[in-house]
């Protein structure tokens, strides 16, 4: 008897078990962090900690959607890089900031559209397409800006990047993240669009037969991913008041690590926004706490690596346990097996 990991059309069964596990790990990490250093549980430190995560957190949202739909976007950090470079070039050319930001978001959407077009029109695997555009977009970033850096952004805008909500310790970009996270969570877990992503990820053929517009949905996902990367580029550029072609190089790995650790199946069809957000913070908290405790960098890298392995192992083990439980219940109730 074989068991499909999640039946097509019934994908909304989110792995609550893993969500709970990861949230428990966050609480555990918070406790551990406060034991490691007195400075850990201070408002200023938690504020810095979350500000440092904000780009990864933002892009993780759209990456969650894409991986649930059984695709991947490896070009996100390069898209961020080229968008940051464009923002710098435009500002240096005296384009008004509002317009420059709009054009930057436009470039992100375009970059995402190109990815999506190659995937849906030419039927190429997104892994291959976005490995290509990972190089292509980074190259374009260098073509735009070379090894120069644009830095003379007006204080009003840079303050949006690294400032705090007045009277609090909350970083301003975190507010934007919370809003976008709520929108994403609602879209994924409470709308037909969200259900269609699970269906496509679980079984694309079945989804097609069920009348879902698979191509259009995927194209939209890639555009959203590009747009989110562009938004993260604006945040990043202002947060560091520095537009550089090499901005956020390698960030895609942190994003994918967080999404997988958050319980999203790399094979699609399974995962939740809550789990991913918890995972983003788990990684950030562990790194911050270990840094505060003066744990050497090598150990930090090793711990991050182990977390990555856990991110692939954990949900898989959970799924197997679930399957075993189900098998047992199938044995006791004769009707349970047939899908």
């Amino acid at each position: 008897m074989s068991l499909p990991p999640s039946a097509p059309g019934r994908p909304a069964r989110s792995p609550l078990g893993w969500d709970a596990t990861i949230i428990a790990l966050v609480v555990l990490a918070l406790g551990l962090g406060s034991r490691l250093s007195d400075a850990f549980l201070t408002g200023a430190n938690l504020s810095n900690l979350s500000a440092n995560l904000v780009e990864v957190a933002l892009i993780s949202l759209t990456m969650t959607l894409i991986i649930i739909a059984a695709e991947i976007d490896l070009s996100v950090a390069s898209t961020l890089g080229v968008c940051s470079a464009l923002l710098g070039v435009l500002w240096a050319a005296h384009v008004p900031m509002g317009l420059a930001i709009l054009l930057t978001l436009g470039l992100g959407a375009l970059a995402g559209f190109f990815n999506g077009w190659l995937v849906t029109r030419l039927g190429l695997p997104s892994l291959a397409v976005t490995i290509g555009t990972l190089a292509l977009y980074r190259g374009l970033a260098y073509a735009l800006l070379g090894d120069r850096a644009v830095a003379d952004f007006p204080p009003f805008w840079t303050n949006l990047g690294f400032g705090l909500v007045p009277g609090t310790q909350i970083p301003i970009p975190l507010v934007a993240f919370v809003v976008l996270a709520v929108i994403t969570a609602v879209a994924l877990h409470a709308t037909p669009f969200g259900r269609s992503l699970y269906a496509i990820g679980a079984n694309e053929v079945a989804a097609r037969f069920a009348g879902l517009r698979v191509e259009r949905t995927k194209l939209l996902l890639f555009i959203l991913s590009g747009l989110m990367s562009a938004f993260a580029a604006v945040v990043y550029t202002f947060r560091f008041s520095s537009a550089r072609a090499d901005n956020a190089a390698g960030l895609e790995l942190s994003v994918i690590a967080a999404v997988l650790l958050g319980g999203v199946s790399i094979f699609g069809g399974r995962g939740s926004v809550v789990g991913v957000i918890a995972a983003v913070f788990l990684i950030g908290i562990i790194q911050n706490a270990l840094t505060l405790a003066d744990v050497p960098n090598e150990i930090l890298t090793i711990v991050t690596g182990l977390l990555l392995i856990l991110s692939v192992l954990g949900p898989n083990v959970a799924a197997r346990l679930r399957a075993a439980r189900q098998r047992r219940s199938n044995l006791t109730s004769p009707k349970g097996g047939a899908p």
Partner: protein, 330 residues
């Protein structure tokens, strides 16, 4: 009564001033934040920084990212802030990205010293600079002139045509060459190896073919000088054509030992870290505020003066040759 208060205030001020001139406080916490940890250059600088901290009985540590990205340095700055360090000594990966965070640190009373690589204005109290542009340019000409007996055709093998620091040094070199003692030296070509090993190697080869009478080459870039040395080392020009410039001892050791290169120069990163530690300690102890003309003691390096824009200069380049190269590991 009023008078007594004034007197007291004056006395306190005077005593305060005396203390400011005086000793470094004990137990100062200083954190070094290099561009990259596990990089021999910064490890050497930290060795010097650590030695200084030990001398004035402070508490020091080095933290930092293993990749040279500015964003990773920012999270370390925040961490050091949370740990309430007295001073941060940082080599900036990005001129601007760190500024807002360093400003925040300074607002909270943390003293900020940059070393090796500065940040934009307002982001630090002091910059401890390796050497002035002037020194770096002139020292290299003097070194080569000595090696070729003040006579003959020379060339420069630089990095890229638009590298700001290289071009500033070359301008100084050209100015230095106008001095009467160099009247028999002729600069025939400035070549560019683009800081690429292969390109520098072939450019060096090209120089030798184009100018058979070439007596010496200055390569003010670590990539260029080692590629040029490798070419010379395997060519008939070995030991006949002088090569000098800026390089690191580990890169150049074999070429100094096999007679390809007599001597080359660089600042001594160990001294750079040592001076940065003393500068940080002087700031924390209130001996100096970072203004032009202020003086502070820097252990074995003697009395140092803060220059324009809060820059403290380490001094002339260190020349590495057969006699001393084995004392350095970076």
């Amino acid at each position: 009564m009023h008078h007594r208060k004034l007197m007291l205030a004056a006395l306190t001020l005077a005593l305060g001033a005396a203390a400011a001139q005086g000793t470094i406080k004990k137990g100062i916490t200083i954190a070094f934040l290099p561009k990259q940890v596990n990089n021999p250059y910064f490890t050497t600088a930290w060795r010097g920084g650590q030695a200084a901290i030990k001398e004035f009985a402070g508490v020091g540590k080095q933290v930092g990212p293993s990749d040279a990205g500015a964003s990773s340095q920012v999270s370390y700055i925040n961490t050091l802030l949370a740990q309430r360090q007295n001073a941060i000594v940082v080599s900036a990966s990005d001129q601007n990205a760190l500024v807002p965070y360093l400003k925040r640190a300074m607002q909270q009373g943390v003293k900020v010293v940059t070393y090796d690589s500065d940040v934009a204005a307002g982001g630090r109290n002091l910059f401890v600079s390796q050497a002035s542009t002037d020194t770096i340019g002139r020292d290299q000409v003097r070194l080569l002139a000595k090696q070729i007996g003040n006579k003959g055709e020379i060339a420069i093998l630089s990095a890229t045509p638009n590298a700001t620091n290289q071009n500033a040094w070359i301008a100084v070199m050209q100015d230095e060459l106008k001095k009467p003692q160099y009247k028999d030296i002729k600069l025939v070509k400035i070549a560019y190896g683009n800081d690429d090993d292969q390109k520098s190697f072939t450019e060096m080869q090209g120089l030798m073919q184009a100018y058979p009478n070439l007596r010496g080459v200055i390569s003010p870039t670590t990539v260029g000088i080692s590629a040029a040395a490798r070419y010379l080392s395997g060519s008939p020009y070995k030991g006949k054509v002088a090569l000098t410039g800026l390089g690191t001892p580990n890169q150049m050791r074999e070429f100094v030992k096999n007679g390809t290169v007599q001597g080359f120069a660089l600042w001594n990163p160990e001294d750079l870290g040592y001076l940065a530690s003393y500068a940080a300690a002087a700031l924390v102890s209130g001996q100096i505020a970072g203004k032009e003309g202020e003086k502070f003691g820097a252990g074995k390096l003697g009395q140092r003066t803060v220059g324009k824009d809060g820059v403290v200069i380490l001094g002339p380049l260190t020349v590495f040759d057969k006699g001393n190269i084995d004392k350095f590991n970076f």
